[in-house]
Symmetry: C2
Subunit: 247 residues, 2 copies
């Protein structure tokens, strides 16, 4: 196939940059590696019926009550007041979450998801290292234009979401036409760091690495950087994320 | 000196991200490597009295007439209609530009400069590889907070401006406290590419590399990636950029 016949792939490094890309005909991959999209993949992999992403604690409590869901969210590394669980993927093993609905508070990721909806994204999925292969296989199979949308941190570009975008590109590049410097930058960085992503974040002073380490969450970081531990494809539809049935 | 006593350094990868940073007490370095800030350094190094950056062709013609300046600007790789010269640094040798004022049309860079003014930047200078050392030495000497502001390309992050930000960080990092993932990302990329920046842009499909190569401007690209060929410090004041007198 000639290069020009391939679908395009772009990387938006921050929600603030999302408006630069044409979402109308694209699959948008929401990326919030530490830890929202890793936890979403894990809960769905372990049998959660769905995950409802919400942008505030009050909305989380409200929906949780309506549907008798599991409410989750953190502020400054602690379970937020009024909610039941936190943001760690380790809080959602199969024996707890199977058959339940998780209502998850995630500021950056939920906002980005709503922005993507507003801009008419054709399909929205979520991506993280625990479901890297599921995301890559889906993108290759669908043959549609792709926007890798990093949730970032309060709109500031972050290293871990950029690294995941780089990982996706590294695994799918032959299937896309990539005319996007952001994509080339993150792929280069991923190639440099892929042997040991944990050390890469540490050695390069990634701000979120320090933030979570200060909360004693090394185990979470290591899990969230490890590929395919919860290899499911979360697809957004009608207010919630559900695992796509395998073919 | 302890880390916390050092001034801070942040990198804004696109004008769209500039509002995230506190410019009020900072030196802002405007970066538009291909080719605006490289040409500004070159013209001043070769004795131009000043460079007036403007954001439109009509404004360029108007000011050029008022002050009898040299008008310059391009559209799609050609000298813009109504102007006299183009954006190439090679158009401004000493025998031509000495003692004159250059009125330069630069869309991305000028907009970023005006944004920085609006946000109350303490000082605005321009940076490019031809004046890399002058910029680094000034930043080290001043001991103020720094924002490296990439002009990007129509707000999309680009590789060459990111590489220059990385070069500045690589040369000044010990003098700053850097809690900014964008800065760590671009420094990493610069370390990877610094041995041969031209090949790095080429091999990583930098979009601006292709754009200028299509215009037959390989010589310009090579010049604009070469450190210290026009090692002067352009400082913005009162509508124009002038070379800072050496101590």
């Amino acid at each position: 196939m000639s290069n020009t016949n391939k679908p395009s792939l772009h990387t938006s490094l921050s929600p603030t940059l999302l408006h630069l890309y044409d979402l109308g005909n694209s699959i948008v991959v929401i990326i919030d590696v530490l830890r929202a999209t890793s936890t979403i993949a894990t809960a769905l992999y372990n049998g959660a019926r769905s995950v409802i992403p919400v942008d505030s604690i009050s909305r989380c409590m409200e929906i949780g009550k309506q549907i008798q869901g599991v409410t989750a969210g953190e502020r400054d590394g602690q379970i937020a007041e009024g909610l039941e669980y936190g943001n760690s993927p380790f809080e959602y093993p199969r024996e707890f979450i199977e058959g339940k609905t998780l209502v998850l508070t995630t500021t950056n990721g939920t906002r980005l998801l709503h922005m993507s909806l507003d801009k008419g994204a054709k399909e929205i999925i979520t991506g993280s290292f625990p479901n890297l292969s599921a995301v890559c296989n889906h993108l290759i199979e669908m043959k549609k234009d792709v926007i890798l949308a990093c949730a970032a941190w309060k709109d500031r570009v972050n290293m871990e979401d950029s690294l995941f975008a780089g990982a996706v590109i590294s695994h799918t590049r032959d299937h896309f036409s990539i005319n996007c410097d952001s994509s080339h930058i993150v792929e280069k960085m991923y190639e440099k760091g892929k042997k040991d992503l944990f050390s890469f974040l540490k050695n390069n002073n990634a701000s979120h690495y320090h933030r979570l380490m200060n909360f004693g969450l090394e185990k979470d970081i290591r899990y969230c950087l490890n590929p395919d531990g919860a290899n499911v494809l979360p697809v957004y539809s009608d207010g919630k994320l559900v695992a796509k049935a395998r073919n």
